[in-house]
């Protein structure tokens, strides 16, 4: 039975697209058939992060409007056979999405895949609401800072009221994924702590992704970090988060600040 997971946040720039790509790749690496769907119509990015931008022919809008078949629009990843991308349209806007069209595409994807990851646009408007509409589960991407956490709280409210599952009175599993966590800054009290975030959102934690330059480096070469640098700390955190998403019980370790010998000797330099 396929699981449709929306990756959402409310706020922009917190790492939805990066996390969709990394989680999608990690799930596919563990043998699952995965489709990642870009719902950010007009501002598509997932194709770039997945390194598929030169192979886009048809997109989500074409499929919802019946211009193309789903199989024509899906792009198979060059590195993992079981990972597919359904890109967004860059030349249209979110008004081009219809609820019936999205329902049809999601239903078709459910038949073909184990996991369907929907990369939501930022905001709480039509695009974001359609991305979450048919979800069974949600990954709420949050940075440990107040504006991101408040926006995530708002999104959780929408997940509990505007999704099809919520309207039918069924439960929708929600997970918080904290990204760009900087242990050193958290220790200095410059960021919200993990406890603060979880206390405000009162939603279970899927994982903590440490701030790491490898994530941006991988995005820039068009490869999810879990594929490009699988031993990177952020990649390992994404791989563990993907295992938890599949229901595995993986203990969560707070990413600690690594101190080198010289750091310990001379104390840390100012960041």
């Amino acid at each position: 039975m396929a699981k449709v997971v929306v990756v959402t946040s409310g706020k922009g720039g917190v790492g939805k697209t990066t996390s969709t790509a990394a989680l999608g790749a990690a799930l596919a690496q563990s043998g699952k058939r995965v489709a990642v769907v870009d719902f950010d119509v007009g501002l598509r990015n997932l194709d770039l992060v997945m390194g598929a931008e030169r192979r886009v022919v048809f997109d989500l809008i074409n499929v919802t409007q019946g211009v193309a078949n789903l199989s024509q629009a899906l792009i198979r990843d060059k590195r993992i056979d079981s990972l597919f991308l359904l890109p967004a349209s860059q030349t249209r806007d979110k008004d081009a999405l219809s609820e019936e069209g999205v329902a049809k595409v999601i239903a078709e994807l459910r038949e073909k895949f184990d996991y369907v990851l929907c990369d939501s646009p930022a905001g709480i408007e039509r695009g974001a609401q359609l991305a979450m509409r048919f979800a069974d589960e949600a990954v709420i991407v949050t940075n440990p800072e107040v504006s991101s956490v408040r926006d995530s709280d708002r999104i959780i409210g929408l997940l509990d009221s505007r999704t099809l599952r919520a309207e039918k009175g069924e439960s929708l599993a929600k997970h918080v994924l904290i990204t760009r966590y900087d242990a050193a800054r958290a220790a200095r009290g410059e960021m919200l702590t993990i406890d603060d975030v979880l206390d405000i959102l009162s939603t279970p934690l899927l994982g903590i992704i440490p701030e790491n330059e490898g994530v941006l480096r991988s995005s820039n070469v068009g490869s999810p970090v879990t594929l490009n640098e699988p031993n990177n700390v952020a990649a390992r955190a994404y791989i563990e988060a993907a295992r938890r998403l599949q229901g595995e019980d993986v203990p969560l370790v707070l990413p600690a600040e690594r101190k080198g010998f010289l750091d310990r000797l001379f104390g840390r330099r100012a960041a």
């Binding site: 107040v146 709280d153 708002r154 409210g157 405000i200």
Partner: protein, 237 residues
Amino acid sequence: MTTAAPIEKKSLRFKARSFVAFALTPEAPISDWLHRLDRWTANSPGFFEGRPVVLDLSLLKPGSNDVTALVSQLSQRRIRVYAIEAAGVEDLGPDLPPLLIGAKETLIEDIERTSQALDAPQTGELPKPDTKIIDQPIRSGQSIFHPHGDVVVLGSVGSGSEIIAGGSIHIYGTLRGRAFAGASGCESARIFCRRNEAELLAVDGWYRTADDIEPSSRGRPIQAYLDNGVLWVTALD
């Protein structure tokens, strides 16, 4: 510790109230409608005496001159129009009654029955206690409006959300949003919460923002209540 200081600054007082008004919906042609109205008031003389009447122009859609004429026609019949409801109209000018939006239907029988019950408690029909219990966290952007009774929240109330209650508000988690107790004019209402991180606390229209609340009460269990027009915020531990 139960210390608190009254607010020194005089604050403004505002509150939301709802009233029941009678909406008259004229239909074209207007002379026929006025004729029917006259016939009807002849059967129930004094029906509109002292009652607030709202003119609903959704069917008639007249020009502003016609509205002026209609209002004076009604005032000749001792029907005083205190507001006008007209969809899509921005401004009717300073001489006409103000525009109203956000109307809700209500049953006149219901109101009369409630007022009878209130006037004559000997009939044995007591109004039911009406407490709203919410066992989920209130998320940012949500607004809970419960004008007749208490609100009890078992979870937390997020930043950017609000609870408006006719009675008291009880929060068993952290209050990070705004709480308006006694919003229908009840000065004995109180706000209780297990942990105070509130953006705003208000009882019966008297309010204090986070900046006006003593920093010592932040992060602690508190209650907020009115005493002689001063909103007190005191710790419960």
